[in-house]
Amino acid sequence: MSDTLTEQKPKSVKPPKQKKPASLWSDAWYDLRRSKVFIIAAVMIAVLVVMSIIPGLFSSVNAFDPSTCDLTKARQGVSGLHWFGTDNQGCDTYSRVIYGARISIMVGVFSTLVTTLIGGLLGLLAGFYGRWTDTILSRVAEIFFAIPSTLGALLILALVGRDNAGIWTVVLALSVLAWPMVLRIMRAAVMSAKSQDYVLAARALGAGPGRLMSRHILPNAVAPVIVVATMNMGVFIAAEAALSFLGVGIQSPDISWGLMIADARNRFLQAPEALLFPALFLSLTVLAFVMLGDAVRDALDPKLR
């Protein structure tokens, strides 16, 4: 996005203070490396990402192969063969939890990407141009903002129907309702950056709107959006699980933690493992992204220094 960002890599080993004037980003990176919360969150997320890309690395059992399920061994407890026990269909819960990570991570990443790009771009335009552009974009955003997100997502997915339900419909349903939040934050940040002296100076030197936005305003307004985007990732993952739990999100035979929890809830007293382990992984994943967001905010917010 901006060339100041690229300074992170080579200079990151030593404290950069002496050699170069510190930018917001290098300071933030310096802070982050010293934050325990950030390191724990980063390690957890790294493991989850690897798990979702190459699940075979963690589990020798392919959870998508129905022949690995044995109904006669349904609802067994934790054992050497089945680390997390088995579910109602006699499938290995451990391998299903591992294979279930992919959908959660994908929904989190793609929903965040879509909302950040759409909300960020429209927020930039609204904040920069103001007047009727701002009025129109902000009113439209407020209309979407007024829809309760769970209810709205349920409605969208119910309209889409179970037959077409899948990861992309879930991303769509979540994104449609979440982009206005990013727009608001971006707009506020852009409006405060717009009146800064360096922007006025650039304008006086004849910089056009494109250059002003991309070179001067965006790099200085993007920090709060990044914080919100990181935290949203966890929120989206939890929302996907909730929608799948309610039966409108991911559909079997795809594997989703929310779906696993829904399937296991009726027999919770007989086989608690089948519910507890996907719930645990869901909680840890959401926690990891929220912690990451927290650490990034602490690092980026100058007021907290």
């Binding site: 129905p66 109904l71 269909q89 039966g247 399937d263 809830r265 027999r267």
Partner: protein, 555 residues
């Protein structure tokens, strides 16, 4: 049409989930049944779900309403332990040709308001139920009586834009009152099993007081029905408002008086809550237990736990005429049937509350043959795969398994899907649909191509009820499109046999055709799992899954 969706099961599980989230144990769930009465006159309390309609016999075709009506009313016949009809109000039910029946009544039976139970009270009640304009749930039970067609003209295009022609009669031409204690019934077709139908809720008589000046059954009657049975209403019941239906003993009852003075029916939306109340002694009898507690209930309650076969059968059906390739081929249908591990599914998914099905006729009626289905219903993955491959199964496309998502069917459908994937190597798509009615509508419009789940509870204890309404060419509940001349001939022969017993061989021959063609795959037979508290004894459940309430005693 008594295809059913198992809504009560899902109602239980949904609320269970909320309960887990909300209370987490320790405290007792709110108890709608807790009463403040003294113990001397405390009624026996029976668990039911909310009846679908006000308590009118002709408008009750579900088990909860029937449970209450069974205490308020008695019918022409009752059933013995072998599910054979025995005359109750009827003195005799006779016919020479299985079409024209003469029903003579015993004298001395009275309604709760003191008016006699006469031939006219039966004829009035049946006519009212048979009148399509009243839209009563049990309307189709009258379909075998002559004159039903004139009262219920067929809509030429189903739910389509064309209106049904107007009815040309408001009474059944087949019903004639001869004298106060005799009436005759002319059937549309010979049917030797007619007397077996007459103990059902739909055939109860209603007194003159039921009908208002306009000839309609009054709203007051629905709240406080006047019956002829061992119990009468203690006070009117407002449906949707009150969660208890209170009955007291009818001391003018012509037969042996009921053993307890009062019975309350407590309405529950959650079987798990009801079961906790049973354990706590707040209610006395449940005729259905939540699947989750079956295992522990057996051990905990001992001989206060009831387990007996029920009349329900669970199937997987095929649209045999308009469906996918695998639905059209009898060999492929057989291969699918053989690839399903019924035993493990009934044990693991249903915790033993269902048993593997091996016939189209339920074990609760005469005519059932153990193992009649033979090889086709026996789990044999190797043979199934051979049969599947030899008949073009791999080219038949992916198998769809349709089910209604609100009935607690997901687990067993998923288990079947895994069976088919593993044993046949086929792609299987379980297809949840919001409502059962959607599948039925799609089937009716020839739009459903794959398998669909189906279930049937008998209307009356006769093998005919498991064959004709589901598989006869133009039957109301024939969703498979099955149409077989030989089958029709055998049914006709069986129906016109002088007695039900003599017809059974022909019913079984018709059954054999189904077992060969497999338009449906029988998967499991339902079981009745009930329980009662230590306050009561002598609790029996009849073939309609109703408690024989008059015989229940205090322990």
């Amino acid at each position: 049409m008594r295809v059913f969706k198992g809504a009560q099961i899902i109602a239980g599980t949904a609320v269970l989930a909320l309960g887990l989230a909300a209370c987490g144990g320790g405290e007792e769930a709110p108890n709608p049944a807790a009463g403040g009465e003294g113990s001397a006159a405390a009624p026996i309390v029976v668990e039911i779900a909310e009846p679908q309609h006000e308590l009118v016999p002709g408008n009750t075709a579900e088990t909860s309403g029937a449970e209450v009506l069974n205490a308020l009313f008695i019918g022409l016949v009752n059933y013995d332990a072998d599910k054979k009809p025995i005359n109750q109000i009827a003195e005799s039910i006779t016919s020479d040709d299985q079409t024209n029946w003469t029903i003579k009544l015993k004298d001395g039976y009275k309604f709760h308001d003191g008016t006699p139970v006469d031939a006219q009270s039966f004829v009035d009640s049946w006519n009212y139920t048979a009148n399509g304009a009243n839209a009563y749930e049990a309307n189709y039970f009258m379909g075998s009586i002559a004159g039903y067609g004139e009262m219920n003209p067929v809509d030429p295009d189903g739910d389509g834009p064309k209106a049904a022609p107007a009815a040309t009669a408001t009474t059944l031409s087949g019903l004639k009152v001869v004298d106060p204690l005799t009436f005759t019934v002319q059937l549309a077709n010979p049917f030797s099993g007619f007397p077996t139908m007459l103990g059902y809720t739909a055939f109860y008589p209603m007194p003159k007081a039921a009908f208002g000046p306009d000839g309609k059954v009054t709203a007051a009657y629905g709240e406080s029905p006047i019956g002829n049975g061992p119990f009468k209403m203690a006070k009117p019941w407002k449906r949707g408002v009150e969660t208890r239906i209170s009955l007291v003993r009818n001391d003018d009852y012509a037969e042996a008086k009921a053993k307890v003075e009062a019975v309350d029916f407590a309405i529950y939306t959650d079987l798990n809550t009801a079961y906790r109340d049973l354990q706590a002694g707040n209610i006395d009898i449940m005729d259905q237990l939540p699947a989750e507690v079956i295992a522990s209930a057996k051990a905990e309650l001992g001989d206060r736990y009831i387990e007996q076969p029920s009349s329900g059968i669970g199937y997987l059906g095929f649209p045999t005429k308009v469906g996918a390739d695998y639905a059209k081929s009898a060999e492929l249908r057989k291969a699918i049937s053989m690839a399903i591990d019924r035993k493990t599914i009934t044990e693991q998914v249903f915790s033993g509350t269902r048993v593997p099905a091996d016939d189209f006729i339920s074990p609760v009626v005469a005519g059932y043959r153990q193992g009649a289905c033979g090889e086709a219903c026996t789990y044999d993955p190797v043979k199934a795969k051979e049969l599947w491959d030899a008949n073009g199964g791999p080219q038949a496309g992916s198998i769809e398994l349709g089910y209604n998502a609100d009935g607690g069917h997901k687990e067993w459908i998923e288990a079947v899907a895994n069976n088919l994937r593993t044993n046949l190597g086929a792609t299987v798509e379980p297809k949840p649909v919001e409502k059962f009615a959607t599948i039925l509508d799609d089937l009716g419009a020839d739009k459903w191509k794959g398998l669909f789940r189906m279930a049937w509870i008998m209307d009356y204890p006769s093998p005919e009820n498991y064959l004709k309404p589901i598989f006869a060419a133009n039957a109301g509940s024939n969703y498979s499109g099955f149409n077989n001349k030989e089958f029709e001939e055998l049914l006709k022969k069986a129906d016109s046999a002088p007695t039900v017993e003599e017809g059974i061989a022909s019913y079984q021959a018709a059954d054999d055709i189904l077992l060969k063609e497999l338009p449906y795959i029988p998967v499991y037979f339902y079981q009745t799992n009930g329980a009662f508290s230590s306050n009561v004894k002598n609790v029996k459940i009849d073939p309609f899954e109703r408690i024989e309430i008059a015989n229940v005693e205090r322990a």
